[in-house]
Symmetry: C2
Subunit: 279 residues, 2 copies
């Protein structure tokens, strides 16, 4: 199944794709549908003019893995890791698959195309097999990062938790339809020029590893998200370094799932507002 | 006012202290009371046998600051920072002021006594003055950390986001009653022996700095939490290093606010369950 949260004249609804159409599911969005199981309900009427929006507006947890593709690890000058590098985002960090990305306060906004996992059933201290069985679906994310803020301190969080900067979607595809374990192409394009491409088969820690590992210390619930990390090709690692510019169109694709298409709206608001510098 | 979430025979209620008594407020807990403003409502009847439990069970965001007292920064061998070091916890990471702390999977559980700030009004891109005015209250936290997990990778998150390991409470004190900006003693004791003591007046980034800084990249809402960092004296920095042991009683106090009193229940469950090692 290909699931989405779609806009309607009266709000949003969870929906399942039927050919060219979207049929309503009995939940206002996929966060609700994963929470109550209604993502698997019988599809209702076709939703006229349905447009996929942010599929999961209220995940309880968003856990991200860094340094998880060999090529990206090498471009940052590091060794292959023994454990996944993890950090968190907020639900507020997410935004829709075609939303403009309103960026400011940094001149070093960078892209990170990623495969994202949607948790389907509760998970606590799971092994790999249980973790894999708990995967509810797959989607696409771009972990945009303000590299200067990310490197201000040892902890990356403040460069990666800016409201409405991580596009997600456009659809959540159930595991019977795609198999990232076997390998799906993850790619990123800026104004049509490819800047990242790798296969999910080369992940150091795959989705089952990550869900099992995270479930060691915190319970994962239906609708929670785990972002699996980005391939090589980010702007920070280029020579010269390359940052996102106002008006550029950022496309983020995972083969067999879908494509995010977001326009960069970059402003430097220094005149009206100065980032807090408190030292 | 001294506010709490207290247990009753039929669940919990938000409450305000009246001498020796707790009087009910019209919300099931302080998360609800901060969300709808009912923390300021007229107090109702005395709650018989009221016992403070986790005051804020559902903060939307929990942001923590590391390396924020000069003495603790020096004991980790670092320089005074230009920017606050930030990371996130989940609501699930929190636990009540007298709850046992069930720890496992690490033999390096360490303590971090902290002053915590409760956001009172929505905050976005605030300056220091607006941030200070948005403080809804003050409480006490202990940012227990599994040091081996914290140091497995560059990101501390996986050592600091274990479910039910950060005690919080016992009360939330409104800003008219205590003034951490002027200096309150933060202390930590293990079985009655003091291991940490410093004054909130020596914070590198005070609560107004932190709320303003965080509000640069993400909106803060009523009931959100910001933990301000821990003084020197953690077990990791001792010679020899010193970790929490089964049966020890951990007391965490901020002068004028209150004391957390939690018993360590440490097990090494390796026989029944092995932490995921996925490399």
């Amino acid at each position: 199944m290909r699931l989405a949260t779609v806009s309607t004249p009266t709000g949003t609804t969870a929906a399942v794709q039927d050919g060219e159409d979207w049929r309503a599911l009995p939940a206002r969005d996929l966060s609700a549908a994963f929470a109550d199981g209604s993502w698997a309900a019988a599809p209702g009427a076709v939703v006229p003019g349905a447009v996929p929006v942010l599929p999961l507006p209220r995940p309880g947890k968003v856990v991200c893995c860094g340094l998880n593709y060999g090529e990206h690890i090498r471009e940052t000058g590091r060794e292959l890791p023994a454990h996944p590098t993890l950090f968190a985002k907020f639900a507020d960090t997410l935004t829709g698959p075609t939303d403009d990305l309103r960026l400011d306060a940094s001149a070093q906004w960078d892209w990170e195309a990623e495969l994202a996992v949607v948790v389907g059933t509760p998970l606590h201290r799971a092994d790999r097999a249980a973790a894999r069985a708990a995967i509810g679906g797959w989607t696409v994310a771009n972990d945009l990062s303000a590299r200067d803020w990310q490197r201000r301190t040892l902890q990356w969080f403040q460069g990666k938790a800016w409201d409405a900067t991580t596009p997600l979607g456009p659809v959540v595809v159930t595991p019977d339809e795609v198999d990232p374990f076997a390998g799906l192409a993850v790619s990123c394009r800026i104004d049509g020029v490819e800047v990242q491409r790798d296969s999910t088969a080369t992940l150091v820690f795959d989705a089952a590893d990550l869900l099992a590992y995270v479930s060691t210390f915190t319970v994962l619930r239906p609708g929670d998200l785990v972002l699996t990390g980005t391939p090589g090709g980010v702007g920070m690692a280029r020579d010269p370094q390359r940052w996102l510019a106002d008006g550029e169109v950022l496309e983020t694709e995972v083969e067999g799932i879908g494509t995010l298409r977001n326009t960069i709206r970059l402003t430097q608001e220094e005149s009206s507002w100065t980032p807090a510098t408190t030292a």
